[in-house]
């Protein structure tokens, strides 16, 4: 829809009004009963819902829901490459786009992709490309579009898992499915699996004194052939804590494998 | 351990063996004498005052009888028939390969001017045309000889000799073509245990010495990916660093200069030669 930029003079940047209210943020991630904000234990992931074939016009599609985090993914292709420069003679090209719907997060998202979106798309691409048999699709390209409908933490793992599911649904040859999981590290031995937004790491929520060993780790796994396809961390972590978190993530991603398999099989039975 | 230094502590050595008098820069008047003939790297202004000969590149003035040329110090390769070149396959086309040879334009290797597996006298069939990529793919290095220089400056190459063909394991150093000394032989089996091709176009290919007898069977297109043993590899790495050093200091490269550098480097570890 064309807009009149001259008459609708919206401010360049706007802020969430909640930021200026006096909301007391909970200081701890666990309450007195060792429960998290949404009533889970520390090592308990959220229930996951996966479904294939949700977009009828795409070659393949998938939907992933982790309680309030909702992600939809569609795959188009393999098809001809439009741009001459990207042409590869012996290998197909995978293109990924991860986009947040403008209303998905607490703050309003712009339509134009920002630096974070570009990075997320790149992370997604590198996480799923080891799983796709690209040499079976010479001279062609496969497009993967992920749209985040609602963001309540752990968007990246949901995006990776649903993207691999959509690729399977599209009948693309793959070495393995990709499952991913993330944890929030808060202190020496506290790994919160599958964090929600309020549990996610952000610099603003930290005090200088408790900065060490606060962060997030994400791992994407090819569960059957046991290869790590993506690994991501942020925050100030000791290497032993980081490695512990990686192990936790890997384990949790491994657990997802059976769920993913089940949802693929059930989509074919329909 | 990691070393970090200030650039100001870098030692500065200058090559003072080149006297400035022979060097000209673009626009310099070489001669005002009209007797001379205009060669490469020079120009004269038509109808200007006198028929002054100007230089159009920075380089050394060369005079052959009445012909004056200026040879640029930094230049691209201008091939002559019979030159040995090493090049990288850039594109596979209809019945020919395009080869990057540090020349002005990409060189061409025709399918008809290579030895295909199965002997020299084999007929080329349509399947050969389809399988061109199996013989030479994009990125592969070849050694070849200049067969013909076309009028537009494109070089036609051929590999119809057992000396030439696809290059197997080894490493390639690219230097300025002007640093390679023209000699009768450019392919050397160095006594230190490795072979070196100092190609006319400035590509230097260093590879382990292997018996050549197994080459004729497959035309040199089958390449073993077996690992090279450590000692041989060390020699190759040392040679590579020596060639890089010599080129950095603008020393003319030929088998003896490379060998001298190699012997001089022996007391040092390979990694510190650079």
């Amino acid at each position: 829809m064309p807009t009149d930029a001259r008459r609708l003079a919206a401010p360049d940047s706007s802020q969430d009004p909640k930021l200026f209210g006096d909301i007391v943020k909970p200081q701890t991630l666990l309450d007195e009963n060792e429960m998290r904000a949404d009533g889970r234990y520390m090592t308990q992931p959220r229930n996951i819902f996966l479904q294939c074939g949700v977009v009828s016009q795409a070659k393949g599609s998938a939907y992933c829901e982790l309680s309030k985090t909702k992600v939809i993914c569609s795959v188009y292709g393999p098809k001809d490459i439009e741009m001459r420069e990207e042409f590869q003679i012996n290998k197909g090209k995978l293109k990924c786009e991860l986009k947040y719907a403008p209303f998905s997060s607490s703050k309003h998202r712009e339509h134009i992709p920002d630096a974070e979106d570009v990075e997320n798309s790149d992370i997604l691409l590198q996480a799923i490309s080891p799983a796709v048999c690209l040499q079976r699709y010479p001279k062609s390209q496969i497009e993967v579009h992920v749209l985040v409908l609602e963001d309540d933490g752990s968007v990246m793992p949901a995006a990776i898992t649903s993207a691999s599911l959509a690729l399977v649904d599209a009948g693309i040859e793959m070495y393995d499915v990709v499952t991913a999981s993330s944890v929030r590290v808060a202190g020496q031995e506290a790994c919160f699996i599958d964090p929600i937004s309020s549990e996610q790491f952000s610099r603003a929520s930290l005090h200088k004194s408790n900065d060490i060993n606060q962060g997030m780790v994400m791992v994407a796994l090819l569960p059957s052939i046991n290869q790590v396809s993506s690994i991501l961390s942020v925050g100030h972590l000791e290497s032993s804590v980081l490695q512990e978190a990686i192990t936790t993530c890997t384990f949790s991603a491994q657990n997802l494998h059976s769920v993913v398999r089940k949802s693929i099989i059930s989509s074919f039975k329909k | 351990s990691i070393t970090i230094s200030l650039p100001s502590s870098r030692k500065c050595c200058s090559n003072s063996n080149l006297t400035n008098s022979y060097l000209v820069t673009p626009g310099d008047v070489i001669t005002e004498d009209t007797d001379y003939m205009r060669g490469h790297g020079t120009y004269s202004i038509e109808g200007g005052e006198g028929d002054k000969l100007h230089s159009s590149v920075a380089g050394v003035v060369e005079r052959i009888n009445k012909l004056i040329c200026v040879r640029a110090l930094k230049t691209r390769f201008t091939g002559e028939v019979g030159d040995i070149v090493v090049g990288r396959v850039k594109e596979v086309q209809q019945k020919r390969w395009k080869v990057e040879t540090n020349s002005r334009l990409d060189s061409i290797l025709q399918l008809s001017s290579v030895n295909l597996p199965g002997g020299e006298l084999r007929r080329r069939s349509a399947t050969d045309e389809l399988n061109m990529r199996e013989y030479l793919n994009e990125g592969d290095l070849i050694s070849a000889e200049v067969q013909q220089v076309n009028s537009d400056g494109i070089l036609s190459l051929h590999t119809r000799s057992l000396r030439y063909g696809k290059l197997s394991q080894g490493c390639c150093v690219v230097v300025s073509p002007s640093l390679i000394k023209r000699r009768k032989n450019h392919i050397h089996n160095l006594p230190c245990g490795a072979s070196i091709i100092l190609a006319n176009n400035g590509f230097v290919w260093i590879h382990p010495s292997r018996s050549e007898c197994d080459k004729d069977a497959d035309g040199g297109f089958l390449i073993s990916n077996e690992a090279i043993n450590y000692d041989e590899r060390e020699i190759i790495c040392r040679l590579r660093n020596c060639v890089k050093c010599l080129a950095h200091r603008n020393v003319i490269l030929f088998d003896t200069s490379v060998l001298y550098a190699y012997e001089a480097s022996l007391p040092y570890k390979v990694s510190v030669v650079m």
């Binding site: 630096a115 790149d122 590198q126 900065d211 993506s230 100030h236 290497s239 | -």
Partner: protein, 290 residues
């Protein structure tokens, strides 16, 4: 990215060399090339540096300006990274060609500085909710010879170390407003504390071994690498897998450990150099871009 094209057999030669712990330039797997760093090379900046690592050449300029703080952290200053790949380095960077590489580098820099300790941003706050220092770190890539991430991070640390922020005075004005006054002396500055500033170490996987400080040739043989931000104490600050390949779970701890050790050595060497340079103060002649 500026891609080097290599034939298959050359790649095998490089990979076998890595397996034998003898790389093409004679280094072993965890050897680093020699680095040259110089700070204070650009007069119009508050801090700058120039770095050369093998064929890689990077220039960093830091500018500090006044701005409004992020409402999420009203007391803190801001730091922004921007990377530009000059077409000088490779003609393919012309136009939008270098965008992918530069956004990759700036994102990973943002990632490793995204915590409280790397740079203490509270020292950059001036008036909560109203005014703060915004530090713009602009990286210019002049030549790519492999291992860009590490080179950029070293140059960024050196330039931040060199950055002086004017000491400003905040005085209470009329009706609860506050006024800012700049010092008259341009040398009246405080330096940014870079003690906890992380450096990036890229560990590239080739065959069954991993290498640090890969050259452009070697980078084209490795299809997966781990980029880790490491502090002087050997802690990690952000990490990311790069490349299209996958990693063996067993090899990840080793790679992190290598990154940690190399990162520490890199910090020690850089700190030593920066100290030496500071001690020499004005006695040395700047080489500048050469």
């Amino acid at each position: 990215m500026a891609k080097v094209i290599l034939g298959d057999s050359e790649k095998w030669f490089i990979i076998h060399g890595i397996q034998d712990d003898l790389r093409n330039d004679g280094r072993s797997c965890d050897d680093y090339r020699h680095i040259e760093v110089e700070t204070g090379v650009i007069s119009n900046t508050h801090g700058s540096s120039r770095l050369r690592l093998g064929n890689t050449e990077v220039m960093v300029g830091v500018k500090v300006e006044l701005g409004t703080p992020d409402p999420h952290s009203p007391n803190d200053g801001l730091i922004h990274f921007h990377v530009d790949c000059s077409p000088n380095a490779d003609p393919s960077f012309q136009g939008r060609g270098g965008e992918e590489l530069s956004s990759n580098i700036s994102c990973i820099l943002t990632r490793i500085f995204n915590n409280k300790t790397a740079i203490d941003l509270s020292t950059l706050g001036i008036i909560p909710h109203k005014q703060c220092w915004v530090v713009h770190v602009d990286v210019l890539i002049l030549e790519c010879g492999g291992n860009l991430f590490d080179a950029v991070s070293v140059a960024v640390k050196a330039s931040l170390h060199n950055t002086g922020i004017p000491n400003i005075q905040v005085t209470d004005g009329d009706e609860g407003t506050q006024e800012i006054s700049l010092p008259d002396d341009p040398n009246d500055v405080k330096f940014i504390n870079t003690n906890n500033c992380p450096l990036l170490v890229t560990i590239s996987k080739a065959g069954s071994r991993h290498i640090v400080d890969a050259t452009a040739d070697e980078e084209s043989c490795c299809n997966a690498s781990l980029v880790v931000g490491v502090t002087r104490r050997g802690r990690t600050m952000g990490m990311r897998k790069m490349g299209e390949g996958s990693l063996d779970p067993e090899s990840i701890p080793e790679m992190i450990e290598t990154g940690k050790n190399i990162g520490r050595q890199l910090h020690i060497a850089l700190d030593k150099l920066l100290k030496v340079e500071q001690g020499m103060a004005n006695d040395i002649e700047k080489v500048g871009y050469l």
